[in-house]
Amino acid sequence: MTDPFLILDLLLAGAVIALAVATLTVRDLFAAIVLFIVLGLLSALAWVRLSAPDVALAEAAIGTGVTGALLLKTLHHLRYVAGTLGEQTAHGVTPVTPVPMSVIWANAAFCGLITLGLAIAFLDAPLGGPGFDALVADAIPASGVDHGVTAVLLNFRSYDTLMEVVVLLAAVIAVWQIERGLSEAPSPDLSVIWQGFARLTLPAIVVVGTYLLWKGSEAPGGAFQGGAVLAAVGILLLLSRLYVPRPAHRALARWGFVLGTGVFAGVALLVTGGGRVTFEYPPEHAKTLILLIEGLVTVSIAVTLAALFHGREPVAVRAKEARHDA
């Protein structure tokens, strides 16, 4: 008898591949982005099947949700600049010059070779072999948390996570610099229903995000998933204009961006002493320290992701324009 889950796996795998092809071949860019979002959600489902709920949550919240919002916002801006906003256009936004078929075939052959090599290497590789499972299982009691992924992220491999938060900080600095002086596409006029929707859902999202953060120490969840869900609060506030960024808020936002990195690095340095090395938390305070870091990193992630969605920093000119409009 065939295992029903095997059929689900095959269907999911087929859908993921088909969506990947469709994302790159569909002519309308809006459709491409929507297909990419669906693809991300189905991948998250596939990762749940591979018993990786943490990764699935992160992919659904960050890799699909916030990324999808960023992509759609950029498409809106590009169409505004190109003057094709609101047209039922099926074209891309960059001028297209035809590529010779020979180049396409050469690329396809090259990619085919790489894929063949990868597939052979994958089929030859020993799967399910001993990884770090036993090491992590042995060390968990000393980590201060009960969940493997959280222990790895915030205790055993803290350097990786610190660097990850730094990358996020670098990204928001880069975006503010790149977009300096850039004229902004007017945000779409959202109806009153949308504002009502925001008022209804915002409290629920805040609760879900905080729960994900708190639960992370013993079950799937954690700072990144919780932070992304809380970033959705920021995106909703920006979209529904319940919150309009002002130049005066820049200092607060900057503090928000560096808060997580600062506290993370600060704790890492403070625990050095008494023969301990950087990031070696004293076992009796490990849980407190990890929760402190996670909580503040979550705030930073939420603020940073919302700022990445908003794009350019709020500048004084914009406030004047807003007053003119009013």
């Binding site: 018993s51 890799g63 894929t115 493997g148 992924v149």
Partner: protein, 96 residues
């Protein structure tokens, strides 16, 4: 046929589609999408590498690596998209 084999090959296929797209796509936004497909394929392979036959728990280290990868990827995407927006605005100014 086990889930790790099925999803491992899926990951390789998605990576290949993304690589081809990144080399052949004309549109900038679509090229970013293609690179994101590559990262998704790599994520699939890492998650597959962590998978163990159900009673056993999966290896948490690759999971942590994928989560790190997802966050790094959204940072890179945000910067790429900002560059695209800037480039498009500059081109529009040149045309005027």
């Amino acid at each position: 046929m086990t889930p790790d084999l099925i999803y491992g090959l899926t990951g390789i296929a998605v990576f290949a589609i993304g690589l081809t797209g990144a080399l052949c796509a004309q549109d900038r936004l679509r090229r970013v999408l293609a690179l994101k497909l590559c990262s998704l394929g790599a994520g699939f392979l890492l998650v597959v590498a962590a998978w163990r036959e159900p009673p056993a728990a999966p290896d948490p280290v690759p999971h942590a690596l994928v989560i790190t990868g997802i966050v790094v990827m959204i940072s890179a995407t945000a910067v790429a998209l900002a560059l695209i927006r800037r480039l498009q605005s500059l081109e529009a100014e040149d045309d005027d």
